[in-house]
Symmetry: C2
Amino acid sequence: MAINAPIKREFSALASSMKPSAIRLLLKVANQPDIISFGGGLPNPESFPIDDIRRIFDEQISRNGKKMLQYGATEGLDTLNVALSKMLRDREGIKSEPSDIIQTTGSQEALYIIGKIMANPGEYVITEAPTYVGTISALRGSGIRMIGVEMDRYGMKMDALRETLKKYPNPKFIYVIPNFQNPTGITMSIERRKELIEIANERGIMIVEDNPYGALRFSGPQIPNLRSMDGNVVYLGTFSKVLSPGLRLGYVVSPPDIRDKINIAKQALDLASSTVSEYIAEGYITGGYMDKQIPKIIELYKQKRDLMIECFQNYFPKDVEYTRPNGGMFLWVTRKGADTDKMFDEAVKQKVLYVVGSAFYPDEDNHESMRLNFTYSSNENIVEGVKRLGKLFEITAK
Amino acid sequence: MAINAPIKREFSALASSMKPSAIRLLLKVANQPDIISFGGGLPNPESFPIDDIRRIFDEQISRNGKKMLQYGATEGLDTLNVALSKMLRDREGIKSEPSDIIQTTGSQEALYIIGKIMANPGEYVITEAPTYVGTISALRGSGIRMIGVEMDRYGMKMDALRETLKKYPNPKFIYVIPNFQNPTGITMSIERRKELIEIANERGIMIVEDNPYGALRFSGPQIPNLRSMDGNVVYLGTFSKVLSPGLRLGYVVSPPDIRDKINIAKQALDLASSTVSEYIAEGYITGGYMDKQIPKIIELYKQKRDLMIECFQNYFPKDVEYTRPNGGMFLWVTRKGADTDKMFDEAVKQKVLYVVGSAFYPDEDNHESMRLNFTYSSNENIVEGVKRLGKLFEITAK
């Protein structure tokens, strides 16, 4: 046999331009002892209904073991899609047929597939600025450009959107997270939602609504989802925040032509999602476990949000600003003139982690903010971690 | 609010060229009553270790519930990769570090990602002809061309490969399924394996070895895997055929630069695979369940292979040829001058299903063969189904 010669490895253009996610890199540092991490968007493990899942798994494998362990349909388990269709109507006011729904390997896969099927490399979509870092990596993974539109406390600014559409009149879609947005925690007002739908419909632009946190409302009145107001909206949901992210189960509700393209694209990507996960999720909804669990999660997280904001008041310099979300998992902290990228090394030394704000801007051109997760840490660590951040702000102000 | 205007939906070029998988379409017909399907590549549900999985799940969620339900690392559960690294050495003679391994959402995701990171749209790879239909859809999903190289009973023909490389000298990689190939069931001889590695190394071409069926050898001596002969080979394995496809769990063993690109690409696709599935797989290996289960699967499948071949001898016209695989899940049936695409409607009428041979050729230019799965059907259905196929051959010969 010949001596091994050097193997040519010219990566594709897409692969060459890929960058590791800021959050994934962070997770590695987060495992060091004594580190307090407000970085990852992790649910609190106390929110996992471990005993319920054990019971559900046991029931499902006893009753449906042979189907549960077999290949499933690309669109997902039919009884799960039936249960979800009902749940979406009851909880979210969304009218959909089970056949409008496709299960995906987490919402991340839905984001990736929607970008891939809708846009060619170099084409663009419109997002909030800042927006979810996972969406940035999913779309960038297909060479898609993102044009960010400024937000205020009511969500994406509609005058800014109109201006953006003058310069960029043909986006492949507008992507928004209307409830407790990642990273800001901001909820889009009902007026903005109506105006967004109006603008999109006038121009025939598709809206993609990502709603991972909608069920986690701690305070304030529920605001209708875009999809409940307009059947053309492509709607993304997930079990990651109301059951378990370890299942890797999200779903898309979409019009038939989009659904068919998602289905074919998913066949090529991973054939189908986990039927094991799908049977667990189905048992979770139909057994009434979800309706019992969500109030518990809300109670846990509300208290943590309140605690973290209280700590901001106690330990942050007065010129540090922050959002006051009515739900979700994140607080957005901003200090005019700060550079949170430059502060990060010092934060690691102080053994407290956040995600740099720049990671949430497609052009990484904003450095004054940081995203803090309030759901994962113990109360003790929230207090200690915010103290450390307060010290960090003081040091870096010098 | 404005009346909904028609939403512009111009799909991307890749989405417009996508076609639904022949097998996925077939699965829908397969659910009709009285249909005997040799179509899908489904494990027999009797091969699923249901009681073992119930026990493993219960143990893992009791011991590791909070981690099992949480987001996991993109590369997969560390203890699973440690267990796999050892298993690959013991069972397959493959030397690898745990850090060389990445878990994927089934092998399908690995195939998709490797195509995406290695080749730009329009670039080409070399495969066996015929080759796995899922590989065709995964690579086509990134706009990659496939150049097929003819096989005989010893696998890909090396003289044909040398000829192909004259015309197509810069493939991004050579993709092969050396053991019990899908769709033919053919195993590549040791001489061919050595020659393939020699040819690839002379030219610096990467080899991708897909080994979903390697553990399912019923007869004949084990032949070393390409990856055990050459550390540059990218190796794909899966739990779908030795545990459960419902877990959606496969893995890639690759050199560090490839592994890093796979990792980053996977972050954008689905963040990570299911930690629930990973804990089940880890318990399955480390608890010794896998070593107990594989001989049972082999016993079940060997008997079904023997039965199906016996039925061919009894019920097929003498001019029908077929492979005699030493393992795996498939038999490849060929009749000179037949057109299995045209025969398919009549097969549905006769209530027996196969996959048309053309689905396994990138150019769909071969119509004389069909793929039959022997693992899924009951013994009774194998006999009755082959009788129906025999009748079909007689009808269509007229």
